[in-house]
Each structure stands twice: as C-alpha cells, then as structure tokens.
Amino acid sequence: MASPASYALRRHQQQRRRPLQDDNWVRSDGRGFHQCRPAFLRTGAARAASGSAYAEFGSTKVIVSVFGPRESKKAMKYSGIGRLNCNVNFATFSTATRGQESDHKDFSSMLHKALEGAVLLESFPKTTVDVFALVLESGGSDLPAVISCASLALADAGIMMYDLVASASVSCIGNSLIIDPAAEEEDCQDGSLTVAFMPSRREITQLTLTGEWSTGRIHEATELCLDACSKLGEIMRTCLKQAVSSST
C-alpha cells in the first residue's frame, strides 16, 4: 500500500534578522556569541554494546554504541592493524521536516577520519571496532556532537586511544563569529569551521572549513574552537570519572 504524497507544515517563518542589517542581533536562546550550549553526557546508555554514550547539547541529542573489538567480516583481507568502522544514522523524526537527513550522508566518513587519528589501531589487529551513532534530534552542530559522544563511547568500551577527541564548530555570519550554532543559525551562515581536537596532546585530528573566510578570521575562529574543545574535554573526563566511581 503506497503512502499518499504528503507535505510538511510550513512553519510561520520568523524574519531572519541578518546581523548585516541589524546591529543588535541576539542569539535566539540568549547566549553570547562565544558561549557554547551546556553539555549533558552520560555513559553506559546501551547495555548490549561494549561501550556506549549519550550526549545532549541543547536540543541536539545523540546516542553512540561501540561494539568490539570483534571479528572482521570474512570478505575483508588480512590486516595487521585493526579496523574502525563508523556509521551515522539520523532518526526520521530528528529533523524539522521528515526525510531531510539525506543532506548528511557524509557524516559517517567524517566521523571515521576524526577518530582514526586518536585510536591505537595496532592494539587490536585482525579485528574491527564498530562505532554506530544515532542522532535522535538534530538541533544544530550535529557532527561535533557525534564526534565527542563517539570518543566518549570508545573510552567507555575500553578501546586504547591516545586521547579523548572533543569537537566544536564555529559559524561566520556577516562580521561576527558565533560558536556552537543552533539549527536556525546554521541555515543563515556564510561559512563554517569544524575542528576535532585532542586536548591533552594539543593535536587536531580533523579540520573542516566551508564558505568564504579571510586569513585573519580563520586564526580567530580556530582559537575559539580549540578553547571550547579544551573545556569540553574537561567535562568529558569528569563524566568518565563519575561513571567509574559510581560503579565501584
């Protein structure tokens, strides 16, 4: 039985007051331009997996499960180092209109590249570690949320890593830089920068830049991101410590 064609409700569009025209532009949730959303992190969300984590950044909710190290598929050739397999899925109700998740098909490979640099693949040769992420609600800055939550899940599973990977993104709207954009801010951005960073080793595993930027602004945006990542790294460590101390 084919479902009849349906269209989503067109929400009453609020006038997007661009900062170019309006000098008194305030972010919709009242944050400052350089203020991140509060993070809520919890490990051990899914008991079926070796390790799992749940993260909430404002209205962006992500759950990640890690399975492994387990036997690689028989079709794969022998490999002296381990393999990391990442997959990101969006729930059908996560976006404002149903079926919009096809814009984010490349998240799986981007997650893989961000985590690859941090995981010690030599510690589990011939086997695969599977990282599966499900975005339950997409409220802006989805990829940084997925990366941070995934590295927390990997730590919960006991996979050896050089360091936790924290991630943040900055949007450039007109003349101002805002960090951790929400969904409506991402829609009217001119450019964006996403950084995945290992705070203790001070190394960047992945940096993605889109749109038009001038050199000076890139430095400024990168500094903002690294600062936010370090703070997020601290929060992730506290969460892991709490999980361990509450279980013993």
């Binding site: 989503a8 387990r70 599966f132």
Partner: protein
C-alpha cells in the same frame, strides 16, 4: 558427565566458584535455567510470573509532535510521531492516516549490522500496525482537517535503542504512549489552499480562520497492552529477556485492550505445544499486566500535563 558439571556449577565459593557459575551459564544454558525454574525463580531473582520494572517518559523528543521513551528492564524504545498534511483518498474523504514503522538500528544489538537490516524489523512493524489498526484505539476521522481536501498523515516511527527481549511489548507501549501524548498543532487554510501552521500566541493577529481549534489531542478508547510469555515444559515465564528467548523458543504474545477484548494472540511455532490451560494462564497473566501498565501510563501522562500547565 552432566553430574560432574552440575557439581562444579553448584559450589559458589569465592572467586573461583563464581567463574564456574558463569562458565556453566555460557556452556549449558538450558540446564542452568532449569535448575532455577525448579525453585520457581529466574537468574535475576524475578518470580516466574512477574514482569520487569517499566518506566515511561513522554515528550522526550521536542522536534516531534508526540513522543515517548519506554524502558522495561534493559529494553529501551523511543517512539515519535510527526504530522504531515495529505489529501485524503476518494473513498474516505473524512479520514486521516497513520503509518507505523519499526526500526532496529545497529546500536540496539550486536547482531544487527548496518548493511543488513534485522529480520525482526519488518515482522514487528507489520504486527504493530495490524494490532493498532485493528484495536480501534484511534478514530481516523479525528485526523481529518478539511473534508475531502486535507487530512493529517501521522508518521509513527519506533526506534529500538536496546534490544533485551519482549520487543513487541515495549514497542506497543511506546506507540500507545506517543499517541496519547500527541499534540496536534493549530493550523489554518491559506489562500492557495495549503495548510499552514499558526502560532498559538494570542497577541499575534491571525487573519486566517483556525481550522482545528478544538481538536488538539486524540481521544483514545480501548487502549491495547500486551505481554509476551515463554512456554517451556510446564513453566510459563512472563516478560522474557533476550537470553531466555534464545534458549526457550516458544513465545506467546497476548494483546488485551482495556475492555478486556482479545486483540491478538500470536504464537509463531515453537517446540512446546500450547494447551488450552496454558493459554488461559497467559491470558490471566496479561490481564494483571494490563492493570499495571495502565496505571504507569496514566501516571506518566498526568505528570507531563502538570508540567505543561
């Protein structure tokens, strides 16, 4: 040989004793369970006829029009409803439509891989849509907006976040909770004949007529609840975990609604044959469970209503 293993498993002294028990559980799961069943108890200390603790949280997803997160033991399901507008079919111009889909993403269980969808997903999806449509819980006429021109299409998606047995029960409960929580947004018809959303803010002047001012929530009559039991020799185990389901393969799922009508009895094969007495026992266990679930659901809905007021 069995006797030697039993002795080894029976002693539980210290660290060495615990290792023996765990190994025995993995190597000989059926005798391990049968020794527990003789004492009328299960390894997690539950009596045979009681279900695991259930908790319901409605309104978990704010971008959806109705949602619920249900947890029974370790099995966790998230159901969410998104409403879209469609033009109703010719033979039923006054009715909307409900499309139910059940997903098992790879996070829920180590056996599900991203390329290969789980075998259970389409079967459970069909079972759920059969039960919900046949139980007359919702009237599709309530989903109608403008007769003949526009009606609601409700997409109900249920995601399994952790699979640990009794998947159908928890999925049905989460679907019912999401439908009970559904808030239909205010809409009106614009000049081109399309439905647009209207904000509920009274200070905003709306030049358009609001089409459904009084139909904001669905009225549910006979709400179905279910219980899965496993039959094994003479024992009946209520609300099995995934481990129990893999060892004893005869599930019986009974769905009763609040008027005590049998909506569905599903027994898909299995080594144990069901005698009429066992079926009657399953039905009475389900009756008890329906009472429990109904009070848990009412409590959860009331607490959200109090928060909203």
């Amino acid at each position: 040989m069995a006797a030697v293993k039993e002795d080894a498993g029976g002693r539980g002294g210290g660290f060495e004793g615990e290792m023996e028990v765990e190994a025995y559980r993995r190597l000989f799961p059926l005798p391990y369970y049968e020794r527990h069943l003789l004492e009328s108890v299960r390894p997690d200390a539950r009596p045979l006829s009681s279900a695991r603790d259930t908790s319901i949280a409605v309104g978990a997803v704010s971008s959806a029009d109705g949602s619920a997160l249900v947890k029974t033991g370790e099995t966790t399901m998230l159901a969410a409803i998104k409403l879209e507008v469609m033009s109703p079919s010719q033979d039923s111009p006054d009715e909307g439509s409900l499309a139910i889909d059940f997903h098992m993403p790879p996070i829920c269980s180590p056996t599900v891989r991203p390329g290969r969808p789980a075998e259970l997903a389409p079967v459970l999806s069909k079972q759920l849509s059969d039960v919900i449509s046949r139980s007359k819980m919702i009237h599709l006429k309530e989903l109608s907006l403008v007769s003949g021109k526009a009606a609601w299409m409700a997409y109900l998606d249920i995601y399994c976040l952790n699979a640990d047995g009794s998947l159908f029960d928890v999925a049905l409960l989460s679907a019912v909770a999401a439908l009970a929580h559904l808030h239909i947004p205010l809409v009106s018809l614009n000049d081109e004949g399309r439905i647009i959303a209207v904000s509920g803010d009274p200070s905003r002047k709306t030049t358009r007529e609001v089409v459904n001012k009084d139909k904001r929530k669905l009225s549910l009559n006979s709400v179905p609840f279910s219980l899965t039991c496993l039959l094994h020799k003479d024992y009946i185990l209520a609300d099995p975990t995934a481990e129990e389901e893999s060892i004893m393969d005869t599930p019986v799922t009974v769905v009763l609604d609040s008027l005590d009508c049998l909506v569905s009895l599903y027994k898909p094969g299995g080594a144990a044959l069901a005698l009429t007495s066992s079926l009657k026992e399953c039905v009475s266990l389900t009756r008890r469970r329906v009472q429990e679930l109904r009070s848990i659901l009412d409590e959860a809905l009331q607490s959200t209503e109090m928060d909203e007021d």
